[in-house]
Every structure is written in C-alpha cells, then in structure tokens.
C-alpha cells in the first residue's frame, strides 16, 4: 500500500510545477461558481427560501459539488493515450497493479486540486456568498467520507468508459457524454432539491443521486441516522457493482490487446 501512496505523492508534487496554472484554475472555478450563484440568485429573486430550501443552502450545495468536481478534474484520456502509444504493454509488465496505481495517481492529483484549487476558491466565494456552516463535527466527517465514496464512484464510471479505448478509435466523445450525464443527473448543474420529482424517483436507482447530493445533505444536516446508514450502504453497493463491471471491461480489453498484439 505504501508504494501506491507514493504514486499519489509523486503526482501531487509534479502538479506543483505549473504555477501560473494555479491562479488560472482558481479563477476558472470561481467564475463557474459565480455563474451558478448569479443564476440562482435571480431565480430566487430575493425570496428567503423556496420549498424550505434557503438560498445559502443552494450556494453551499454548489460549492460542495465544485469541491468534488475539482477533486475529480483529471486527464480522462490517460488509458487511451497509453493504448495509442503502445506503452500499455510495458505498464502491465511492471510489478504493480495498474488499475490501483491509476487510482492513486488520480487521487494525488485530486488532492492537489482540492488544496490548491478548491480551498482558495471556497475561501474567496465565502467572502461574497452566504455559505452555510457545517451542521456539526460528526456530520462534517461523514460528509468527507461520503465525498471520498462519491469520488470512487466517479472514478470507476470514468474507468469503465476509458476501457472502451480498447475497442474504439477515440473515447473523447464518450467521456464528454458521460460527464454531461453526470453533471446533470448527479446535480452539479441543478441542485437535487429542484430536480422534477419524476426524474428524481428514477435517479434513486442509479449511482448518480448520491455522488454530489449525499455529501451536501450530510454537510447541511437533517438526515436521520437510518437515512445516513442507507445512503452509505447504497454508495458502497454501487462501488462494488461498478468494480465488477470495470474489472470485466478491463480484462476483456486486455485479452483483446493480447490477441491483437496492441
């Protein structure tokens, strides 16, 4: 395990080489936040709360989504590049689990993004937007745990899509489509509270509902212990299910690679 942590640390450090990108990245995140802030400010039109959801709850939810998106902001063409360049074979010969290594490298990058992109953005955002305080220390910890689980769900979906590069000329299109679907259905474009009820009832049966919304609910508090337990179980079940699908895709992809000789 130590070795895999090392992969994460190396990636974290290597990201610090591009300093101008910090400021640009922060500005990008901040402006994205401002767009949504402005839209919902206009939608609220001065109202204190709508359907029991206050405006500051909405901004908080956008900020938490932004944090997770920023953690997940990574190169999703990684596997395709390895396959295209033919270096995947060398990678497989190394005595490390390729998939695990990928996860830890991405996590290293994610940690970097959270520290150097999300946190400054959140601090600046808190200056002009009303952000709710966490509803308690335990809830905050649960929120972080849920963010990590959400990250793993996102990562696995991405991995499954990336595995298509064994068969397709390019997965850019698929990755883009996947991200649109996640952004809309997981509620990073529109808070889950305002999602039409019909769609929301369908979403309960997908991994999307809990990715962004579960951490938001935990942070704001108000979930019963039973709901929290159920939420976590659901996230874990999806992680297990996606793992199986990912493993199947990965193995048949490798098999194809071996047969076709790259």
């Amino acid at each position: 395990m130590n070795r895999y942590l090392q992969f994460a640390v190396i990636r974290f450090k290597s990201k610090t080489a591009y300093r101008f990108d910090y400021f640009l990245g922060i500005l990008n995140s901040l402006l994205s936040f401002v767009v949504y802030y402005s839209i919902y400010k206009a939608l609220y039109g001065g109202a204190q709360s709508i359907d029991g959801i206050s405006f500051s709850m909405v901004t908080t939810s956008f900020l938490i989504s932004l944090g997770l998106s920023s953690a997940f902001n990574k190169n999703e063409m990684f596997l395709q590049d390895k396959i295209k360049q033919g270096t995947i074979a060398n990678e497989l010969l190394k005595p490390v689990n390729f998939k695990l290594r990928m996860l830890f490298e991405d996590a290293g990058e994610g940690a970097f993004n959270v520290v150097f992109n999300f946190l400054p953005t959140a601090l600046i955002a808190a200056l002009f937007a009303n952000i709710c305080a966490p509803s308690g220390a335990i809830n905050m910890l649960l929120c972080i745990a849920s963010v990590i689980l959400g990250y793993i769900v996102l990562w696995q979906i991405s991995f499954i899509v990336q595995c298509w590069s064994f068969w397709l000329f390019s997965v850019w299109g698929l990755v883009t489509i996947k991200n649109v679907v996640i952004n809309i259905l997981a509620g990073s474009y529109i808070p889950m509270w305002f999602m039409p009820e019909k769609i929301r009832s369908i979403l309960r049966f997908t991994p999307f509902e809990s990715i962004y919304f579960m951490p938001v609910q935990l942070y704001l508090g108000g979930l019963s212990q039973w709901e929290i337990l159920l939420g976590f179980l659901r996230q874990l079940a999806w992680i297990a299910g996606l793992y199986v699908i990912g493993e199947l895709c990965w193995r048949s992809g490798i098999k194809r690679l071996v047969i076709q000789g790259g």
Binding site: V35, A42, L43, L168, T176, I177, N183, I184, Y189, F194
Partner: protein
C-alpha cells in the same frame, strides 16, 4: 470572390474528408459536443420547471437567447479555428507554411481551419433551439427582422472573431496566450450564455465593454423580445450589434497587421 470560394471549398473538402476518416467517431464527437453544450440548457430547463421564469425570461425566451450564442459559435468555428489554436500554429511551425504561400495570411487562416465537428455540434444545437423557440416567443418574421437577425449573427461572429484575432496578434509578442483566452473568452462565454441582467454591475460592464459578448446574444435577443430588464440599458444597444462587430473586427485587424512584423519563427 470566385477564387476565394473555390479555395474555401478545397480546404473544406480536405478538412471534412480528414475529420470523417473515422465516421462513427466523428458522429459520436459531434453528438458529444452537442450534448455538452446542451447540458447547461437542459439544466436551465429543469430549473425553470420549478421556478417558472428567471428575471422575467420564460424558458422559450431563454432558448431564443441561447440559440444566438450557439449559432454564432458554430459559424465562428468554421472560420476562426486557426485563430483559436493560434499559439499551437506558431509553436509547431505551421505559421511558417502560411507565410510561404502566395495568399493573404489572414485569408489562409480564416479559410483553412474549420473545426467541423464542433461547428456541426454547436450549429445544430443553435438552429434547433431557434426553431423550437422562434414561434413560441412570437417573433414576427418579415424581411426587416430576418435581415436584422442575419446581420446580428454576422456581427456576433465578427465580435468573437475580433477577440481571437486580437489574441492571435498578442501571440506574436508573448507566444503563450491560451491562458489569456481562457480568462477573457471561455470564462466570459460561460457568463454570456445567460441573460446579462442576472449578473452584478461589474460583470455586466465587462460583458458590454471589455469582451462585448452582450452584443452577441443579449442585446440582439432584446430587439426581438423586448423584455422589461432592457430598461437598465440604453435602447440603442439593441440596434448596434452589426456595427460593434465590424468596428471591433476592423480594430483587431489593424492591430494584427501591425503585429505581424514582430513574428519570430520558432521552428527548432
């Protein structure tokens, strides 16, 4: 003119042929671009299911507003892709080749590089939104309005072209301008999609006077829709998109002509 057109078609033929080498992939990419851009629209649609209107704009009126940004970008990217990616052209030495050909530099850049897949993605989305919304928002189409709509589209393309032309000219001095474009174009475009009036005064001022995206979609849309939030701006803003486009483009062009002499080929 005939000569220019035949050159454009020669470029277009080869560009399309090369982008459609992998047909399935090309279609998936077009669809992906379409969907990526539609994402914000869908989210807005869902939100308005709940909230009804935003600053008095109904969803149909918003779709009409959105259509302008997508249509202009779809056309823009047919003619200005080379300028969008201009730092790469310089870095990889492609600009040297442009200088070695017996045609105007900008003529070649404008005609040669169309990002056809993006153009189809944005273009279809824009036209689709226009078709869906135009009747519902009650636009009366007659010679005058059709003509003005077309002029606004051209003006909107020129405004965005001018921004890129100016940044390309800056590239001759500082080589790396992608970050500047990120700040002044792509981020501003995020804002420009939605009605100008939802932002605070500072952002509005930037979108009107610095990177005048407001003239690409908001003010022309106001010409057709006459929403109450137009009251905060001078009425004549609704009529000047084509002029803003031409003037800005002319200024950017002058700056470009002036800067061309500072080109330092990087080559190796």
């Amino acid at each position: 003119m005939k000569d220019i057109l035949s050159l454009f078609f020669a470029y277009a033929r080869s560009g399309l042929k090369s982008r459609f080498q992998y047909k399935v992939d090309a279609i998936v990419v077009i669809f992906a671009v379409f969907l990526r851009e539609a994402g914000g629209v869908i989210a807005m649609y869902l939100a308005l299911q709940k909230f009804g209107t935003i600053n008095d704009w109904s969803i149909d009126e918003l779709l009409f507003l959105f259509s302008l940004i997508f249509i202009t970008y779809g056309i823009f990217i047919v003619f200005f892709m080379a300028l969008r990616d201009f730092p790469d052209w310089i870095k990889h030495g492609d600009f040297d080749r442009v200088l070695l050909r017996p045609r105007g530099v900008l003529t070649q850049l404008v005609l040669c590089g169309a990002d056809w897949l993006a153009a189809f993605g944005h273009g279809t989305l824009g036209i689709l939104l226009l078709i869906i919304s135009a009747n519902r928002v009650g636009v009366e189409w007659n010679v005058k309005t059709v003509l003005y709509y077309l002029m606004c589209v051209i003006g909107g393309v020129l405004i965005q072209g001018a921004v890129f032309l100016a940044f390309s000219a800056i590239t001759f001095y500082v080589l790396e301008t992608n970050s500047l474009k990120e700040i002044f174009y792509w981020n501003m475009r995020k804002f420009a999609i939605y009605p100008l009036s939802i932002y605070n005064k500072f952002i509005q001022a930037i979108l009107i006077f610095v990177v005048p995206f407001a003239f690409v979609n908001y003010f022309p849309a106001q010409f057709f829709l006459q929403k109450p939030d137009m009251a905060s701006y001078p009425t004549w803003f609704m009529y000047i998109t084509p002029i803003v486009g031409i003037v800005l483009y002319a200024l950017a062009y002058a700056f470009w002509r002036f800067s061309l002499r500072f080109y330092k080929s990087t080559g190796n």
